[in-house]
């Protein structure tokens, strides 16, 4: 029984020492176990020379100082980043078309076939361009503002 345990323990230690040495390189655990128990290092040293003659970058186990930054954390940070959440419409005026107007929101002049109003011109009384829809919506409760943000109630 004792023999069996001894064998198992030595096998475990040998496997561990080999792995640790191979992974950790010269500064890894292998060097400690070699100093303490040189007889265990024969196989480990061999394994280093077989696997990679150069010292490998240190690979520690689960970091004591915390885990790595993840994609999910990155996305969560981005979601809170004002640079992403801010409405960028203000910056886009140079390369977007003026809003298309439809009859409900056209001025009477336009309804009668006159040329569409210049979107940059001062609006005539009664002329309500479609572009006003969004600011109008923005003043009403958030649930009514539309936009692509699951803003509508889901049934």
């Amino acid at each position: 029984m004792i023999k069996m345990r001894q064998i198992m323990t030595f096998v475990l230690m040998a496997v561990w020492a080999q792995g640790a040495f191979a992974i950790e390189g010269d500064n890894g655990l292998g060097i400690h176990i070699c100093q303490a128990r040189p007889e265990l290092c024969v196989k480990a040293t061999k394994s280093v020379s077989i696997r990679d003659p150069k010292p490998q970058p240190a690979r520690r186990g689960p970091a004591s100082v915390g885990s790595s930054f993840t994609f999910a954390e990155y996305v969560a940070e981005n979601a809170a980043n004002p640079a992403l959440s801010r409405n960028i419409a203000d910056h886009q005026t140079a390369f977007v078309d003026p809003p298309i107007q439809t009859s409900l929101l056209l001025s009477d002049e336009n309804k009668n076939g006159a040329a569409p109003a210049d979107p940059n011109a001062v609006q005539q009384p009664g002329a309500v361009p479609i572009g006003v829809v969004q600011p109008q919506s923005a003043t009403i409760p958030a649930a009514n503002t539309g936009g692509f943000s699951n803003s509508g109630p889901i049934h």
Partner: protein, 274 residues
């Protein structure tokens, strides 16, 4: 037996000591062995959590030819926190080149472009950045079509750009992929109604109302489409019904008021009302 026990204890102690490397030990390790890349990345992640973003850049920026995805993410995020979005774009570009089939990195790259757009003052550069952002989101979607966050941000970008045709196509694509979701139908109803795709607007707005009967905007766009196709009686009836249904919706009340105001003006002109 005693020897075995002590050997086991040594084994356990050594194992634990291997897992208990602190930042100073890692610093020392890196000083002696600058090539220990995993230690470098681990230490950078530690500094990232400490919000020492300059340290992260200092540790990783010179090693972009060797970093793994964890290292790239730490470095890109450090740049993001420093509001150096062009560098974030550069790092994420390297990551997408290294792992081109991973949609996550294309998605993050697209977001990095969007961040740069917000601080970029040059209109031409901004336009190029928007194009790059859209390309990145499209790439992410082509690799992983079911990744809805990429779809959402791409659609938001189109809508902010007032790129309605692209948005309309994307929404149709989204409806076929993700089903007739309320937010998609609402958006297509709004776009169709505003852009004069009236038959499509009637259909999508009615579907949107069916799916979200308590969301007032869809009624307004339906009324607008009805009015545009000269279905004035239906438009009026729907406007009255919507105004009654949503007494607190400023948008609905405004739309109904505008409709009847214009109708009244029109009647006055034609002599119907004195």
């Amino acid at each position: 037996m005693k020897i075995m026990r002590s050997a086991l204890l040594i084994f356990i102690w050594m194992s634990l000591s291997a897992y208990a490397l602190g930042p100073s030990e890692m610093e020392a390790d890196l000083k002696a062995n600058p090539g220990h890349l995993n230690t470098r990345i681990e230490l950078a992640n530690y500094y990232l959590k400490q919000k020492s973003f300059a340290k992260v850049v200092e540790l990783l920026n010179a090693y972009t030819d060797q970093l793994n995805s964890s290292g790239f993410l730490a470095l890109a995020n450090a740049y993001s926190n420093r509001k150096e979005y062009l560098d974030e774009v550069r790092v994420l570009n390297l990551l997408t080149q290294k792992e081109p089939e991973d949609f996550h990195w294309h998605f993050l790259l697209g977001q990095a472009y969007l961040k740069e757009i917000n601080i970029q003052g040059d209109i031409t550069k901004k336009k190029d950045l928007v194009t790059s952002a859209i390309q990145s989101f499209r790439k992410a979607l082509s690799i992983q079509p079911d990744y809805k966050p990429a779809f959402d941000v791409l659609l938001t970008t189109f809508l902010q750009q007032k790129n309605n045709n692209e948005a309309r196509e994307l929404i149709q694509d989204g409806i076929s992929k993700y089903g007739a979701r309320p937010e998609l139908l609402h958006e297509i109803c709004r776009l169709d109604s505003m852009d004069g795709f009236l038959d499509s607007a009637l259909k999508s707005c009615r579907e949107a109302i069916k799916l979200s009967p308590d969301f007032p905007d869809n009624y307004v766009f339906l009324i607008q489409a009805l009015n545009d196709i000269k279905e004035e009686k239906k438009a009026d009836a729907d406007a009255v019904a919507a105004a009654k249904k949503f007494p607190k919706s400023e948008f609905v009340q405004w739309a109904a008021g505008t409709l009847f105001f214009k109708r009244n003006n029109s009647l006055r002109r034609s002599g119907g009302v004195v």
